[in-house]
Symmetry: C2
Subunit: 343 residues, 2 copies
Amino acid sequence: MNDLFLRACRREPVERPPVWMMRQAGRYLPEYRAVRDGSDFLTMVRTPELAVAVTLQPVDILGVDAAIIFSDILVVPQAMGMTLTVEEGTGPRFHDPLRSAGDLDRLREVSPEEDLRYVLDALRLARTSLGGRVPLIGFAGAPWTLMSYMVEGSGTKAFTRAKRFLAEQPRSAHLLLERLAALVGRFLAAQVAAGAQAVQLFDSWAAALGPRDFREFALPYLAESVRLAKQAGVPVIAFAPGAGWALEEIADRTGADVIGVDWQTDAADARRRLAGRPVALQGNLDPTWLYGEPSAIRDRTHAMLDAFGGVGHVANLGHGILPDVPVAHAEAFVEAVKEWRRR
Amino acid sequence: MNDLFLRACRREPVERPPVWMMRQAGRYLPEYRAVRDGSDFLTMVRTPELAVAVTLQPVDILGVDAAIIFSDILVVPQAMGMTLTVEEGTGPRFHDPLRSAGDLDRLREVSPEEDLRYVLDALRLARTSLGGRVPLIGFAGAPWTLMSYMVEGSGTKAFTRAKRFLAEQPRSAHLLLERLAALVGRFLAAQVAAGAQAVQLFDSWAAALGPRDFREFALPYLAESVRLAKQAGVPVIAFAPGAGWALEEIADRTGADVIGVDWQTDAADARRRLAGRPVALQGNLDPTWLYGEPSAIRDRTHAMLDAFGGVGHVANLGHGILPDVPVAHAEAFVEAVKEWRRR
């Protein structure tokens, strides 16, 4: 069994850093597109056989050191009763976004074991199918990120509706975030019980908040979700892209085992700032660099690995892989990590 | 004459910090919408009487301490021959985006005095109309930001086409950025000759670049534009939202007199990091905080002013004012600055 990933998460000695890519089960793979062409996104997410098929593709095709279950962060609000559609081009959309405090009343109580059983079934099947080849990662969206989608209804540049909700109805926002933190924590623990050997929390819209709001509306709830997930006993990764300024606070407040580093943050700087803290780091190649030639990808990947130093580091991109990247370039990234040696 | 703004830019003693708002001539003002309803955006930009009418509105209505000429950063690529339209809802769009090195050949040489005369005429008229009440600010987009729009053709979340251009055709990118830096510098100098008493460079898409790319493709060209603009002898403001990590480098490399601070950056942190450097700071209230109640706006504005310390500080938002903010809330912000006193 290749357990490089789990050892790196625990900051144990490794022959080389493990490598995987956020959104590695994605459109850049022709094999993914073949599955996707035959069924819509949410059907793939809800059908364990399909979800597991694409979960395993990057392990088989690229030789990454970890599999992450194919799913979506928005399954949680969907389980709470919100109507979700995902259309090609426009992305995910809730048809009944939350706009007032009263709207919170229509959110259902969720039992992850029942209402999100399809995710847990996919994890069980993926774990069996992997047969121990590489570890399996579960994941969930962090409370602030889920709330911002629930209020906006769809992706947006500025998240003004969600931020307006914080400004105008802070008390309701805190109540919703509390509910989400508890649910996300239970969901992650259920994922571990179903076979996930590590879990990652994505606070994808952390960048929508300035420092004061991040500390009030995002960080405490990310921390609570991490705390609950950690009780399941596997490594927990916290990733808040766009909040690179907060790496120390995220490490100290959440107690996560691994801190994700986005591509906007200088790798050497991140390492220096978190030195001495009991955390591993994950990241952070700029995903658009995979547009470059394989030789340039290798050079930049090696520079990134040098900067992180090779211990307590999970090599990854600093954001999800882009859908129009050539597979050969993704391969060049994975190979570059595998051939690198600590100086 | 109210010269608080110019004194603060030069870090001279002031009774109180001056205040203005990015995008202060904008849709949140009914008086702006009245002008806008009668004519499309680009006509307003190209008609000095209309541009000046809305330029003066925030001075008359809100009592801000500086006027910024109503215009758009995309007038520069338009003058280079690119076809620009601005539609309600979808925003600005170039119909003939640059996609290959060969596309650069169709860009025209620009004489700001001739091809952008309408901006200079608007500045001359605004300066006269202001009659010395408050200083007049000119502006331009920084080279990387202009290039990213020219390649993308429209706004985008990830700027993958523009970043793909950098990865695949770095040499052509540098040639284009060099041309833009020279042109932007000349344009800003022409604005000063036409009456601008300070100029601001907006590197609005700095956040699309990680540290390495920012240092290679944005910062040197922002610096060259600032250098050329500074020869005109007025304060130059450099604002690169989303690149808060780079404040020191922006100050050191560009030589700008004033460094804009975005709302994602902690104000006290920005002040501490730039202490000892010969720069004033501008910013940085989170524009979405103007959704809150006036009493909350006052508290947060005072906290922001406390953090900057009152000397060498131009009070502003940390990004443009949002179109759906109540005027009374914008007024509360301006009033909060005016009533604040250094402790």
